[in-house]
Symmetry: C2
């Protein structure tokens, strides 16, 4: 696979530096330490103003950096970039939280030569402590000075967003439009715990050099999110800082019009990239040892299908059984039963990959060795068929391991 990073679309640059939040002793970083362990501030910037669209957490409690970005995007104005910090969520600290984010954004804007409200802000980390804005402001010259469209500085931006993530999540697609012109879309994301639909996630940033109106960008992003990030559940928790944004700077010169075939190509590509990232997020769920796809077919309504995939993907009993590779499919049947969906329990079929394990609501007798072999795969897929109608849905999740407890038992400290 070709190297993917956020500054592949024309006119974008990125960088990630250490501001002393993840690793306080800036002058003394062991070069063997993974970059995700010390880089903590990322900047993605465009040479020219971008149209922008965003989708945000449904949590009533929203972080201050996020609230500020929502305010900017909802006004429909163009932006030049986004600054993201990890280690501190800038949430639940009161009025100072917005002021801190404003202050950081203004500093970036001065360095880039634009106005403060052309810079979006995103923060992820511990809730309830003030953003160490002086630390961040102190490294802005280094952050802006090192902006580049090269792979290394872009990967550094991704590392700087990561919290408990164990692998970077970066994607890229090059689309050829009907008239042969090329448009590029890149995406990067962080997020591995506190992940559940609406928003399913995390911080996700897309860049594209397409020339596309904000309303179209918004429509394409919402559709992409609905079938990808809103279908990932790591632990059922929805964070206060989740956002996915896309910035389009038009520098490819290719205009994407409403109703055109090009729009369809763009929308499909963005959807596919989002799905790829969603799979990466579930696969890298905190402490995850398994990636699990839960599919529902034959539901009587779209709501029922969604209720069931959510219920199974969220069930700690199912998720610990996935971890233990325990052929305890009754737990899946149980989670289907309490999902709140309406269906006839005596018509439910469950399959593990292509192997039937439940038929007509009854457990089948299966070959333990064969099932154990299937359950030992890293990627699992369960299909639940209701025989009630034509609706289907799916969700990506992971198992619940000792490490999930370990990671989250001492996150703050």
């Amino acid at each position: 696979m070709e190297d993917a990073y956020i500054s592949i679309p024309s006119g974008f640059k990125a960088n990630g530096v250490n501001a002393g939040m993840k690793f306080p002793d800036r002058g003394n970083i062991n070069p063997d330490l993974p970059k995700s362990m010390y880089l903590d501030v990322a900047l993605i910037a465009s040479d020219v103003p971008c149209n922008v669209a965003g989708v945000y957490t449904s949590n009533l409690v929203k972080g201050h950096s996020l609230q500020r970005s929502i305010g900017i995007i909802s006004k429909g104005q163009k932006v030049r970039g986004i600054i993201v910090n990890s280690k501190n969520a800038n949430a639940c600290v009161g009025k100072e939280g917005v002021a801190d984010a404003d202050d950081v954004a203004s500093e970036v804007a001065s360095a880039l030569g634009c106005s403060g409200d052309e810079i979006l802000t995103a923060s992820t980390g511990v809730i309830g402590t003030r953003l160490p804005k002086d630390k961040i402001k102190a490294v802005i010259p280094e952050l802006v000075g090192g902006l580049s469209n090269g792979a290394e500085s872009s990967h550094n931006a991704e590392f700087a967003m990561m919290t408990t993530d164990t692998v970077p999540k970066e994607v890229c697609a090059k689309l050829t439009l009907k008239d042969g012109r090329e448009v590029k879309i890149s995406g990067m994301a962080k997020g591995s715990g506190m992940i559940h639909p609406n928003l399913a996630t995390m911080i996700g940033i897309f860049t594209t050099d397409a020339d596309i109106a904000p309303s179209l960008l918004d429509r394409a992003l919402r559709k992409a999110v609905a079938h990808s990030f809103n279908r990932v559940s790591v632990d059922g928790d929805t964070s206060v800082c989740d956002m996915v944004v896309i910035m389009a700077n038009g520098m490819s010169g290719a205009v994407i019009e409403d109703g055109s075939e090009d729009y369809v190509i763009f929308e499909e590509a963005l959807g596919k990239l989002s799905l790829d990232i969603a799979r990466m997020l579930a696969s890298d769920g905190e402490g995850a040892t398994k990636f699990v796809e839960i599919e529902v077919k034959g539901a009587g309504s779209a709501d029922d299908a969604k209720l069931i995939v959510t219920s199974v993907a969220r069930s700690p009993l199912c998720k610990t059984a996935f971890f233990g590779m325990d052929a305890n499919f009754g737990r899946i049947m149980t989670a289907v039963g309490y999902s709140g969906a309406s269906f006839d329990p005596e018509k439910v079929d469950i399959d593990l990959f292509d192997l039937p394990v439940y038929r007509d609501g009854c457990a089948l007798i299966f070959d333990e060795d064969e099932v154990n072999k299937l359950l030992s795969e890293h990627d699992l897929k369960f299909t639940i068929t209701l025989h009630e109608g034509e609706y289907s849905d799916r969700m990506f999740t992971c198992d619940f391991s000792y490490d999930y407890v370990k990671i989250n038992g001492s996150y703050r400290t």
Copy 2:
């Protein structure tokens, strides 16, 4: 505290034996093994027919033993007793599941000299494998022969119901009615994982020697369950076998009439016993090292209050932080935020015991040593105040530990 067990009310007897399900080699049980590790079939019987009421899981998928009991209770007929087995849930095995439960009940009925549909059935354990009814039937002479109103055989009944429970859960109250007559109520329960409201639970059995009509019994039980078992969350999973039943045999001679002060005394006592068991269930949640009470005050509606306590009590991120004794109160704020309740995030207060940790939606700066000391208590209490209205609610939960994952990663095997 006085010894509590199920056969304290007049005319009740109980017993628990080993049928070779928990421990196959019946003749060779190490006497040092805890009884909960090998007793697996329990019988609670009344000398005379009882009025009965029951509350059941809201899971659409219901175990066959449970379905059979629901059928009997819903016909309004009297019963003589209930047989409970652990290790096998008798669920999701098709028509044979009901036939198996019928078969076992008939065998008990023959031994007791009553009809099969006077015997309720309950099963708890692994879903999806046939009930080993021959093993159970083989020990019914021993089970019935050993029925007694003594403490030991009653405790044995409790041990026989336990699955991953680490402590027995038995309660008793002696009520003095207005005219000085005495009525007794006893209760016993099992259940430590797969616990979440509607039904919150588990199997719970109450006995009383009050003479009380089925409709009153039903009303008192529903009220008791609503504020106790329906307010316990261990892991958010609602099992297919949950039931709480109460059998009233009238042998005290004390009639409890609708609208009487005696009814109020009875209802309050049953409510208190249920609450005591609910606390025991949360405290003995699978792998639990903490008992946590989540209280909400000042909600704008009863639904909002319930949404919030449920959301916090269910959040894996809050529960792992309780385990880690991590002062990560932002996670509570987060779970409040995504609960679906409507409220103003900038008016939310959170207290740990009497210590304010959030005010007006903002994290307070607190003394780390003081907070660490409070978080090291076994019993924690958080109060969330919304300042929106007059509604309150509370829920009992526990933490999420390594042991939860361990217990549930290999339950079936």
